[in-house]
Symmetry: C2
Subunit: 558 residues, 2 copies
């Protein structure tokens, strides 16, 4: 392998070994600090200025053949970015990637993993800048944009590299096959096993988590030898472009074709994803986005291995609690964070219409619903804190959806616009909380992306479980929360989780939230229900990205 | 877990551990002897009689609800089996399997693997009987039916269990997640991780290798918690039914629903596979058979993970040899074994029209072709040996194809019928070897299933490589053989193998053959070209058969 690449692996070997350990033991671990204080002061303080310097001009990236220049990003905080990006000519891009693939394949797993780890390390150093880009494309508030867009996204990338390394390491490079033949000499074969990438990998990014949802596919594919086309959402190109630039720099320095990671930006008016997805050379597709498009990919891009994360009806079932207040506070945070624009935000909250048991006595349905509404209201009463939690609404469509959803139920807590001190034109809205009956299934069983949730009156906890089973069975879910003080009911929730293949968060009432997912410990989505056909990240997520090609020839006994 | 199942795992623990070791080191290993002498004499001698006793009557299996009785198998050796099998009512079968799944899931990996290993051990003891059933459905000659249908098939099943065990073991049952919070108490979460099966698994068997190609899917799915519907080819039900019976017995003894493994026989006139394959409850499909149906499954059964082994244009490229004779003898065996009805039999043999270099001087194209034809002729000159190698032609369609193929090229060696001493009505034919020019691509680049092969005159070895690249790229291949005395050319073959994702057998001239594939060492097919979208067996083959569902709740520091 290339000497540079070997040095990269040596430099990051401990990180790799610890990551492999972490995915096996699944405790708390990360090499990428989530506190800004751990980053150089200049890197943090200078980030806004460096972001400003990127605006209103072309963004430089390596491109084989330029077909045009695109880019029309608008910050949810209320200004145009004015950055343009070269769009590669598709045929030339595919051809150049296919030409670059054999060298990337033949250099071997160690070199590829070394390069991936160096890319991640440099992305980590760039986290404050990435945070700016994530903020002004996704609308995430700055702290979340930093954590989720920076170290937490890098964690997910590293996790994919660790799984890839583990899977590739399990295939020996060679074997000697010696078969006894009685009195005759044994049959001896020398065998070689090659890790062979499937082909070109297309990673289709989303507008809300342009790095967190992109890094697993990018790094899983790249580590296993596949060139990667990054196709950003037209509204969130910059964080993906910055990522591509870092990858290209590291690849080039290590002696590889930088176009092994290429950006393919497009516009809402002239999308390129369908054509790319059906290109016979594209053998892997990672997609985060709408159910409609994800299902289209699953059904049509049958030449490729397709990994989708779509959306579902994330659900919370409340059976009983010790104290309602900490539960309501916990849920209030989950409903508020990034204005419900996380793929993990609860939408359906099931509560028996007869109310629930608590250590302080029976609480009526309305008391539960009101306590939750008041907890959200109180949590967001300070405008600065509200803005720092809510972030901005990524798209005008989501903003419009809040308005349209008001009629779906009885308003427990109305959504209200907020004014950001620094960015007065920012699109900021508090959560809309509606009360509905279990019979109003059309209201709560369709995904309402954004800060829109339902408290649903059911006949009983058994009924809540049945509804969740049916709704998640049909529509999927990425998260399932549940509350009970009864061990037998807790076991029913555990069974429900397995049945609908949704991860269960039970009785969360402190500083851990149903919509948060920790790399190396939590499997994000399971791949077992309609919300996602893959998990970020498990063995199945990487094992399908390469094949093993062997050769054998007569050999000698040692 | 059930005590019986625990005992089963204890009993077979060493086998399991050694199997896991074997898939990692990939040397020679098997717990199932391939010599008949290692089996009890009575088991071997009594097999034909026990087979006779099965004929002309219903075959007993557990069935939830019987829809009808089917079965019209005809031995390729010339007689009707007259066995009928209960066909389950599809809806009732699916419902009963779904009801049985949670117990099978919840008992855990150890119990499931214990059950699988016991099934395999009993199948091994039954090998002489299975051999009878394989002989009189597939047409394989008795020794091959014993080895390939018995121990070698069991090896492939065990290999799948080993991969499944390894993949499941890598997910911890629990984890404690402890996140420091500065001066505050750490956040502590107790997490559980459940292996959750995808759903009902449909294994569609073929008529030529009813056990060898069926066991990997059966055991990979069953070990990971999925109930399995075995859908045999209508012409080869018995070996699959015998397998199902053993599985049902072991499951029932261990306290599980025997219908977790169920047979769904059908007829050529009223096939059920399409309807079953599109059932929303069917989440896994393993298929061995025609390209047309395999591709239909890949494109239409998008609700399921689909694993296909279809057909391709297995190829041999001859560049140069030390001595032509041992090469010709080696290839003669490969072309003759089971009358070319293996998915690994070479069809296209590329030779430069200028001839090849040997240690004994230049050989013309015609000399190479004639030496090969004569080697086949000589190898099959003894009729008893011929019958013991060729076996019988499984289907009349294959027999007819031999006749139709004569016009495709110049006949180097004509196919001739042979008479079996014990079964005079057996359908036995020697290989047809045709000479064609590289320009006659329509002749050799379509699969001609059966004993039909082409020696193709090319411009040069570079041209041979280019043709193989194009033909395998378009049609796939499960095997690639090559001969050269030049290291540089050997490296080109190695590169070709990686490009077209076909396993390479280089310079085989002794007792190892391009169409043989050893469990635990050889990856059978790669999954990377059109001949198969999966390999038997690798990590990707099992990792997609389950998902991980976790739960988390607040915990205490230990």
């Amino acid at each position: 392998m290339s000497q540079q690449a070997q040095q990269l692996l040596d430099r990051h070997r401990e990180t790799l070994d610890r990551a492999v350990e972490a995915i096996s033991t699944r405790g708390v671990w990360s090499p990428y600090p989530e506190s800004l204080k751990k980053y150089p002061e200049e890197a943090v303080k200078g980030a806004p200025q460096r972001f400003e310097a990127l605006l209103k001009q072309p963004f430089a990236l390596k491109v084989t053949e330029v077909a045009g220049q695109v880019g029309a990003e608008v910050s949810p905080y209320g200004f145009e970015l004015g950055i343009t990006y070269a769009q590669p000519e598709q045929g030339a891009l595919i051809a150049s990637m296919q030409a670059a693939m054999p060298a990337w394949r033949d250099v071997g797993a160690e070199a590829r993993v070394g390069v991936c780890l160096e890319i991640l390390a440099r992305l980590n150093a760039l986290s404050p800048d990435i945070a700016q880009a994530v903020t002004h494309t996704s609308g995430q508030a700055p702290m979340m944009a930093f954590q989720a867009g920076g170290p937490h996204a890098q964690d997910r990338g590293l996790e994919a590299v660790a799984y890839a390394w583990q899977a590739m390491s399990r295939v020996p490079a060679t074997a000697k096959w010696v078969k006894p033949q009685g009195k005759h000499d044994p049959l001896v074969l020398d065998k070689r096993y090659h890790i062979v990438p499937r082909g070109i990998s297309l990673v289709v990014a989303c507008s809300t988590f342009p790095t967190w949802n992109t890094y697993p596919g990018l790094f899983a594919s790249l580590a296993t030898g596949n060139p990667v086309i990054l196709k950003p959402h037209p509204a969130a190109i910059l964080p993906v472009a910055m990522t591509a630039r870092v990858a290209q720099e590291v690849l080039e320095e290590a002696g590889f074709d930088p176009c092994l990671v290429s950006l393919m930006p497009d516009t809402a008016e002239a999308p390129v994803t369908k054509e790319l997805a059906l290109d016979p050379a594209v053998k892997l597709i990672d997609f985060t986005g709408s159910n409609a498009f994800g299902e289209w990919l699953e059904q049509n891009a049958t030449q490729a291995q397709v990994f989708t994360e779509k959306a579902g009806i994330n659900s919370v079932i409340i059976d009983s609690v010790e104290q309602i207040k900490p539960v309501a506070q916990n849920l209030a945070f989950s409903l508020s964070l990034y204005s419900g624009q996380m793929c993990t935000t609860p939408q359906a909250i099931y509560v028996p219409r007869e109310g629930i048991k608590t250590a302080e006595g029976q609480l009526s349905f309305d008391e539960v619903a009101d306590t939750l509404a008041k907890a959200v209201e109180k949590f967001l009463s300070d405008n600065d804190r509200a803005c720092a939690v809510l972030g901005a609404i990524q798209s005008p469509a989501t903003e419009a959806r809040i308005d349209k959803s008001r009629a779906l139920g009885e308003i427990l807590l109305d959504s209200e616009p907020r004014q950001h001190t620094q960015f007065p034109r920012a699109r900021i809205h508090t959560p809309l909380l509606l009360k509905v009956d279990a019979g109003q299934r059309d209201a709560f069983s369709e995904e309402r992306f954004g800060p829109i949730s339902f408290v649903i009156a059911t006949d009983s906890t058994a009924h809540s479980i049945q509804l969740a089973r049916e709704v998640i069975g049909a529509k999927g879910a990425i998260t399932l929360g549940a509350y009970t003080t009864d061990d037998a009911v807790a076991e029913q929730f555990e069974q429900l989780a397995m049945e609908v293949a949704a991860p269960l968060s039970l009785n969360l009432d402190g500083g851990v939230f149903v919509n948060q997912s920790a790399a190396f410990s939590d499997f994000h989505a399971t791949g077992g229900n309609p919300a996602a056909n893959a998990s970020l990240c498990d063995q199945a997520y990487v094992a399908r990205r390469f094949v093993v090609v062997q050769s054998r020839r007569h050999g000698q006994l040692n």
